[in-house]
Amino acid sequence: MITNAADLNVALQQLTQFTDMLEGMRMHAEQTNSRTFPVLSQAYIHRIREINAEICDYLQTHPYPTDNGTHAAPILPKQQV
C-alpha cells in the first residue's frame, strides 16, 4: 500500500522492474521463436496490473505534493471498482 511520496517512488521502481522483466522475456521469446511467452508472461502482467492500480489509487487521492515531500489531503473521491 502506498501511503506517502517515498512509497510511491518504491512502487514506481517496482513497476519498472516487473515491466523490464516482461520486456526481457518478450525479446528473448522473439529471438528464440519461443511459444511460451503467452503462458510465462501471465505472472508479470498480473503483478504489473496490481502495482499500476496501487499507483493510480494513490495519485488519484493525493494529487498535490507539498513542500515537505508529503502530499496534500485527498480532494478527489476514490474511484469505486
Binding site: M1, D20, M27, T32, V39, L40, A43, E50
Partner: protein, 149 residues
C-alpha cells in the same frame, strides 16, 4: 551457511540468502497442520513435479512464507530455469503448465514468476533478480532466500 535471524519487523535481513530445501522445511515449515506446513507441502510438491520433468535452475523465494508471520498468505518466487527446462517447456505442455501462473495459482502454489538463464545472459539490463528485495505492501527493503532446484 544457515539463514540469518529475522529482523524486528519479521523479515530476513537485506540480501539474497542461499539455503537448502532441508533448511526451508525446518525454518519455515511450522507445526504439523499449520498454514506453514501446508505451504511447505505445496512448495515441495511443485519442486518435485518440476524436478520429475527434468527441469532445474535457481529459485528465489519471497513472500510472507519466508517471514516470521505466523499465518503467511502464500509464497512468491522467481524461477530462473536452465537450458534443459527451456527446451522442455517448448516441447511439453505438462512442463509448461508447471510454470503457468494461472495453473499454479489454481493449485495453491502461489505466485510463480519465471525467467530463463539464457534471457538473463542475453538481456541483463532487463533482468532484475532484486525484484523481490522490497516488500510489496510496506515498501521496505528486506531479504529473500535462494535455493537450487
Amino acid at each position: 551457511m544457515a539463514l540469518p535471524d529475522f529482523r524486528e519487523d519479521g523479515w530476513l535481513p537485506e540480501g539474497h540468502h542461499p539455503t537448502t530445501w532441508d533448511e526451508i522445511a525446518t525454518r519455515f515449515g511450522g507445526e504439523a497442520g499449520s498454514r506453514r506446513a501446508q505451504l511447505v507441502l505445496l512448495l515441495l510438491q511443485w519442486r518435485d513435479a518440476v524436478q520429475a520433468k527434468g527441469m532445474g535452475g535457481l529459485l528465489i523465494l519471497n513472500g510472507s512464507f519466508i517471514s516470521r508471520k505466523e499465518k503467511p498468505g502464500d509464497f512468491d518466487c522467481l524461477f530462473i530455469y536452465n537450458a534443459a527446462a527451456a527446451q522442455l517447456i517448448e516441447e511439453n505442455d505438462e512442463a509448461l503448465d508447471l510454470l503457468s501462473y494461472e495453473r499454479c495459482k489454481a493449485k495453491g502454489y502461489g505466485d510463480i514468476f519465471t525467467f530463463s538463464e539464457a534471457a538473463v545472459r542475453a538481456f541483463p539490463r532487463f533482468c532484475h533478480l532484486d525484484m523481490f528485495d522490497t516488500d510489496k505492501v510496506t515498501k521496505q527493503s528486506k531479504g529473500v532466500v535462494e535455493v537450487e532446484i
